[in-house]
């Protein structure tokens, strides 16, 4: 029988249960709940700080959400590392510019995908922030 560690993909139920367990342990040991969006605010605040610190220091939103690297920022960066590790170990890492479903419908052009993905990210983040996520 194949060992779990060698299996390319897991059942989403098992992977989800493991993720839930990580959340419980995180809340238990460090009091931290999971999130990602706030880190984008902090990151863009750090970038704007490099250009105009006076302006950033007066903006309500950056006063509320200080531009700095903290627990959640490292958590989001960790997702990148964890995914890289998991995909490398299972041989499922694949450099891909355009997802299959997109390619089948809209073709292989990178620029089309880039523009829509950028706009999508912009809109999604605005909505997430408004909803408090």
């Amino acid at each position: 029988m194949e060992k779990l560690g060698e299996k390319k993909y897991w059942s989403p139920y098992l992977a989800g249960a493991c993720a839930g367990l990580v959340l419980v342990l995180s809340v238990w040991f460090t009091g931290k709940y999971f999130g990602a969006s706030t880190s984008f605010v902090r990151s863009v605040g750090l970038l704007e700080n490099a250009i105009s610190p006076e302006r950033v220091s007066q903006m309500d939103y950056f006063i509320k959400t200080t531009p700095k690297i903290e627990w959640q920022w490292m958590f989001v960066f960790g997702i990148f590392i964890g995914s890289l590790l998991a995909s490398r170990l299972s041989g499922t890492f694949k450099m891909q510019a355009v997802p299959e479903m997109w390619r089948n419908r809209f073709g292989p052009r990178i620029s089309t995908r880039a523009i829509v993905a950028f706009l999508g990210g912009l809109v999604a983040m605005f909505g997430a922030r408004l909803a408090g996520g």
């Binding site: 959340l23 238990w28 984008f40 959640q72 990148f80 890289l84 995909s87 993905a117």
Partner: protein, 176 residues
């Protein structure tokens, strides 16, 4: 502070590992869920919520953890949710999964990450206006389902669990 950063990194690595193994980081799976063709994302998410709610409420009852309840503001949640869904459908990744997608080589996630930075910058500009308008509409405060119903969370959680497991059986039957 440094300890907190290391905890954040380790927690993120574990979470990212399981996201990747569950195939949750794929555009095809996320759009598949929005097109009601593939329920992988929901299976992962709902199982994580079930384990999380049982574990965290158990620890809370033992006095070991505190809940982190956000205010429910209907204006922000409903309008923000609609806007988020539109963007999610265009991008095919959410904020955390964009990062994870890049980790497994699906580098179109980078466009999404850049867009999100732009979106965060725009929201920071719009925040004073939002605070005066949308974020004052329907502010219900820090509510929970057991709180509104006035019953124990140990009634709500098993009922929720039952509903979710029923949904899972239906997904499997329909091969979604």
């Amino acid at each position: 502070m440094t300890t907190q950063l290391i905890y954040g990194l380790v927690t993120g690595i574990l979470f990212g590992f399981f996201l990747q193994r569950g195939q949750v980081l794929r555009y095809d799976k996320q759009i598949g869920a929005l097109r009601l063709m593939d329920m992988t994302i929901f299976k992962f998410m709902l199982t994580a919520i079930l384990v999380g709610s049982v574990g965290i409420y158990l620890l809370k009852d033992l006095g070991l953890v505190k809940l982190s309840i956000k205010s429910t503001i209907l204006g922000g949640t409903i309008i923000g949710g609609l806007i988020f869904g539109l963007g999610w459908g265009l991008l095919g990744y959410c904020p955390g999964t964009s990062m994870g997608a890049v980790g497994e080589g699906r580098w179109d996630g980078i466009w999404g990450l850049l867009g999100m930075l732009a979106g965060a910058a725009i929201y920071a500009e719009a925040y004073p206006l939002m605070k005066r308008t949308v974020l004052t509409w329907g502010d219900l405060g820090k509510i929970t389902v057991p709180g509104i119903l006035g019953i124990s969370h140990w009634i709500v959680i098993p009922l929720f669990m039952l509903a979710v497991v029923g949904l899972f059986f239906w997904f499997e039957k329909k091969k979604l």
